[in-house]
Symmetry: none
Subunit: 218 residues, 4 copies
C-alpha cells in the first residue's frame, strides 16, 4: 500500500495522482517528475520550518534545488503540491483484527489524531480547504486520492465491530468518521485544545455507547 504522487498522464497531458506503489509496480524506471521526492519533501520542510505563509513555489523550488518550472510542469497549483506533500505522509494503515472492537476503534482514533494533530502538516489542512473550496471537482479528487483509503480501512474495522455485535446494524460509518475527524481537527485548529488519551478514549466510547444516533436514517 503506497502513497499518492503526482504525475502527468503522457497521453492526455493532464495531471493525475498515482499511487506510488502502482508507480513502482508499473515501471521499474521512474515515471513522472524525476525529483518528486525531493520536491514533496522540500515542501514539507518549508511548511514545517517557516509556516504556510512562507510556503511559496519559489521557496520550495529553492529548497529542493529545482527550477520553478519543474514544479509547475507537474503540479498545476500550490494546492495540488500541498495535497501531495501531505498525502505523502498521511497515515492510512489497515486496522488489524484484534478481536477487540474497543481496541480497534482506539487504533482508528489514534491514527486520525496522528494525522491531524501532526504539529506541522496540520497547518496545511485549512489552507488546503481554503484553496479547494471554490473548486468542488478538485475537492472531490482530493478526497478520493487522500482520505478514501484511510476511511475505508477504518470502515472495515467498524464493520467488524458490527459483525461482532458490538456496534449496531446500519451504523453510519461516514458519520462516525466525520465526528471523529471533525472533533479532532476542530480542537486542534480552532480551539488549540489537547488531544490526549482521555479525549481519544471518549471519542471511542462515544461510538460504542450511543449507536442509535449514529445509525443511518432507515
Amino acid at each position: 500500500m503506497g502513497r499518492t504522487v503526482a504525475c502527468l498522464d503522457r497521453t492526455t497531458k493532464r495531471y493525475v495522482s498515482f499511487d506510488s506503489m502502482e508507480l513502482m509496480f508499473t515501471s521499474d524506471k521512474a515515471v513522472g517528475p524525476r525529483s518528486a521526492t525531493k520536491i514533496l519533501s522540500a515542501a514539507r520542510d518549508v511548511l514545517t520550518a517557516q509556516g504556510y505563509s512562507s510556503l511559496t513555489i519559489e521557496a520550495v523550488a529553492a529548497a529542493a534545488g529545482v527550477g520553478k518550472s519543474t514544479i509547475y510542469r507537474w503540479w498545476p497549483s500550490k494546492e495540488a503540491l500541498l495535497a501531495d506533500a501531505i498525502a505523502d505522509v498521511f497515515r492510512a494503515d489497515e486496522i488489524p483484527d484484534l478481536g477487540d472492537t474497543r481496541a480497534e476503534l482506539r487504533l482508528a482514533v489514534d491514527m486520525t489524531i496522528d494525522n491531524y494533530a501532526n504539529e506541522d502538516l496540520a497547518a496545511g489542512l485549512p489552507a488546503l480547504a481554503t484553496g479547494l473550496l471554490p473548486h468542488p471537482e478538485l475537492m472531490t479528487r482530493f478526497r478520493e486520492a487522500f482520505l478514501q483509503r484511510k476511511r475505508e480501512n477504518i470502515a472495515v474495522a467498524l464493520r467488524r465491530g458490527v459483525e461482532r455485535g458490538d456496534l449496531p446494524e446500519g451504523l453510519d460509518t461516514d458519520l462516525v468518521q466525520d465526528v471523529w475527524a471533525g472533533t479532532i481537527l476542530y480542537r486542534r485548529l480552532m480551539m488549540g485544545s489537547s488531544l490526549d488519551d482521555d479525549v481519544a478514549d471518549r471519542l471511542v466510547r462515544l461510538v460504542l455507547d450511543s449507536p442509535a444516533a449514529l445509525v443511518a436514517r432507515s
Copy 2:
C-alpha cells in the same frame, strides 16, 4: 448586545476589539473607523462574490469606496479584517428556555449549522484558521471575541439540561460543542456533505444518548 469590531488604540498603538454596541454608543465622538460598516460589509461582499483568493485589501477598499490606508489604520492585517467581517454576522443568540432539552439542543445545533454552513462566509473560516495558526495569541483573542459568546449561550442551555436531569452531572460542555462544531465544519469543508435535518437530529441525539462519553474526566 452588539458585535465585536476591531479598532486600533491610538494611545497604545495596539489593536483592540470593541463591542459594536460600545462603538455605536460612542460614535458621536467619532471613535473608531467612520466607515467600519461599509468596510466590513464590502469585505463580505467580495468574499461572497469572488471568493477568498480575491479578498484583497485593495479590492475591499475599492468596493467600500475607501482608501487602503483607512483600512490599514484600523485593522492590522487581512485576518483581523476577515475576523471582524465574519464575527459581524456570526450568530450567538441566547437559547431560550423552552422547557424541552431536546428542542433547545436542536436550536443550538441549528444555530451552529447556520454559522458554519453559511454558503459564503464558511469559506473564510479555514482561511482564518490558516492565518491565525502561527499566532496562538491572536488565535486566543479571536476565540474570545468570536466564539465565546456563542459557546456560553449554548453552555447555558446544556446546563439547563443537566438541571432538568436530561443530561448527566459533569457534562463536558466544551467537548459537546467541539463535537458539534467539528462535525458540522468537517462535513461542510472537507466532505461537502449535506447538513440536513437528519444530521442535526442525530447530533442532538448523540448528546442526549451517550452522556458517559461526554462527561469530563473525573
Copy 3:
C-alpha cells in the same frame, strides 16, 4: 532646450514623452516618476557596463534602487525606457552661425559622430530599431521626440549655407542628413571602421562638392 523624459498623462492614462524643459516650466514640482533621473541613468550604466543583452528591467531596477513596478508604471516597454535613456544624452545642439559653411557642416558632422559613435549608447540604437520596427507608430513618435530637434538644428545650418550661396537652392536637407547619419552608423555598427577626422572631412566635402545629386526632385 531640454531633454525628453517619460511621463504618464494623468488624464488619458497614456504614456507621453515630455520635453524636460516643458516639464520644468509647467510645474515647479516634479511631475512624472520621482526617480526618472535615477532610472534613466541606471539604464545607461547597465548598458555601458554589461551590454545590451544584460539590459533587463530587473537589472535597471536593481541598479536604480527602485522596484520593477515603478519602471513599468511609467515606461510601457524596455524600448521606451531605452529610447528615453538615449534621448537624455543625445546631442541636438544648435549650430552657431560661424559665417563659414564648411566649418558649420563640420560641426554638424561632428555632433552626429558624437551621438552615433558614442562607445556605449550606440549599442542601444540597433536594439531600439529592432524593437520599434514592428510598431511604425512608435517609430514615428520616437523619431519626433528623439531625432527631430537635431535634424532641425542641422537643417538651419544647411539653409544658412544655401543663403550664403555655398549650397544650392532646393538642397534636400533630409537626404543630406540620411547620408551623414547612415554612413556614420553603418561604419560604426556594421563595419567597425574608424570615424576619424578624415571621414568627417570627406562627409562634409561630399555635401559641399556634389550638390546636384542632393537636390530634391524638382
Copy 4:
C-alpha cells in the same frame, strides 16, 4: 557559387561557415545538418510572419519540425542562425560589364536596396548588429562570410569605372559602399522613408559627381 551555411567542426568543436556549394559537393560525406535548408527557411518564415521578437529557437524548431538540439548542434546561437538565414537569401551578384558606368552603378545600388529594403529580412539586420556588437570577432567573421562577396563584386564594377575614366584614381570603394548601404539602411530602418527610383538615382549621381570627397586620403 553557393551561399554560406553554418557548420560545427566535429574535430575542433568550433563553429565554421561552409559555402553551401562546398556543402552540396561534400554532402555525400554527410557533413552538415541534414535539415539545414528546412531550418533556415523556417527561421525566415518565423521572422517574416511573426517578427524578430518571436524568433525563438523553439519556434524555429517547431516550424521546421525539428528538435531543438538539432539546431543547437549546428548553430551556437540565435545570431549565428539568423546570420545564415539572411545570408542564404542575400544578393551578391556580379555586376556585368555593361560598358556604361552609370548603369552599372545603378545595378549595384539596386542590388543593395533589394537586400536592405527586403520587407522582412531587413528587420533581422539591426537585431544581428545588436547581437554581434559585443563580439568583434564574430562581427568580423560575419562581415567576411556575409558582406564580402557583395562588396567585392561591386568594387569590381567601381574599378571598371575608374579604368574607364568615369571615376577618379584612388576612389575609396569602401567609403562609397558605406555611403550607399548606410544611407539605404538608415532610411529603411530609422526614417521609414521610401527607397524609390529617385533615391537610387541620386545615390548613383552622388558617386559620379563628387569623386574628390570619395578619394582615399592620399
